[in-house]
Symmetry: C2
Subunit: 256 residues, 2 copies
């Protein structure tokens, strides 16, 4: 199975390295940014290109791992009816391939990747979807070579998992951003927050997030909440978010 | 130095164990809940009581580690002018002791404690404050026996650190709560989120939270944001928070 990677960003880089390590044959790497194509091509020791018409059209699998906004354009540049087309996006339906090719699918890794940070990819959950059973089996065997966790999931439910990831990753990181604004104000290094951040993340591996919820809002400690809101009088965006999230946490029992 | 712990909750339990391990003499444990007093007393192999008038008035240090709302009442039950009074609260001023005793202070550990979960207390940052230099030195030597990280901090700035902890711990955990509502909806076990949660928390140890920020909002990917908001049409509280936090993240560069 000859694989071509369309994209050379964080996901493509980690996928490419893992597939290569698993003994898969990567034929070529494409990125619109020549430097990125070169960098990943050299890392994987494979051909690379940055012009659409230089993409080899004879591969068995094209993995589109690029921004959602250019996915449609990228697909239009490949003419390989024999191949399987796959994308890695959380919130793009499998139907994007519908009129282009017969065998297609999705491989969505639920993780945040940075180019220079090693990840244990065996632990990363992959949510997959395919246009037919044969394609599904091929995708499963490829994903199975790099991860222990492979789940079938519809496009609709995959979007929910992407949404859950926005909350658990993007929004929780934003809470760290806001915390770091406050530690600056206190003249204390943000690094003092790291043991707390790590422990908070660890806790939900043995308690449900609901049971792990602590703080003034869940115990309806209005006196402390008022002190905090008053303290944030000069930081309106922090005050606003503090208030909204505290109100929402106070209503937590009603959501059940 | 004979220590009495007023309170037997999560903080008192971890502090008590650490102080005991460091060779400090704990004279007695008090909790209004007899069962809690008994449990911690037995764990530490020291006297315990649950009636205010049973508290030994001859200790050298009283550590008040109880709910903010009962702190004032607890202080009023101790008549030990020779002793140092200390509380462990993030958002209560040191002045709460002002008219009660001469030597007093605060020892605020920046961590989330659960009774049955071991913590490496050596790594926990302690923010301390004292009514005078002699008391400060005594508090420092006690804290120094259990943690490598001890910082002087005023009541005002300690409240900021507590506020930062609410964002980094309570609010990020709430993001996990919301994520778990969504994974339930998708029929996927919340445990699939754990590698992502762990990696998100790890990232800020080598990138600033600002640089670690990813997701649709920071890249102003309005198409994906719209899809997500539409998907949450039947979950108004999730939709509301998604919208507020995304808008706030989009404005992140302006905060600097």
């Amino acid at each position: 199975m000859k694989i071509i990677l369309i994209g050379a960003g964080n996901v493509a880089t980690h996928l490419g390295k893992a597939l290569k390590s698993a003994g898969m044959e990567i034929l070529q790497v494409f990125s619109r940014t020549e430097e990125s194509a070169k960098k990943l091509g050299e890392q994987l020791n494979v051909q690379f290109c940055s012009k659409w018409n230089e993409i080899n059209q004879s591969a068995d699998i094209y993995i589109f791992s690029i921004k959602d906004s250019v996915l449609e354009e990228a697909i239009s540049h490949i003419y390989a009816p024999q191949a399987i087309y796959v994308h890695t996006a959380g919130s793009v339906s499998i139907d994007i391939f519908e009129k282009k090719v017969k065998n297609y699918g999705v491989v969505y890794p639920l993780q945040t990747f940075s180019k220079n940070k090693e990840i244990n990819i065996q632990e990363v959950p992959f949510f997959i979807e395919a246009s037919n059973k044969t394609t599904e089996n091929i995708i499963k065997s490829i994903v199975g070579s790099i991860s222990n966790q492979c789940y079938n999931l519809s496009s609709e439910k995959r979007m929910l998992m992407h949404l859950a990831a926005v909350f658990a990753c993007n929004f929780s990181n934003y809470m760290y951003v806001l915390a770091s604004e406050i530690t600056s104000e206190a003249g204390i290094d943000f690094k003092t927050m790291l043991p707390l951040i790590k422990e908070t993340a660890d806790k939900v591996s043995y308690l449900s997030p609901e049971d792990a919820q602590t703080g003034p809002a869940i115990r309806k400690d209005e006196k402390t909440i008022k002190k905090h809101i008053d303290t944030l009088a000069n930081k309106k965006h922090l005050q606003y978010i503090y208030r909204q999230l505290s109100e929402s946490i106070e209503k937590m029992p009603e959501h059940k």
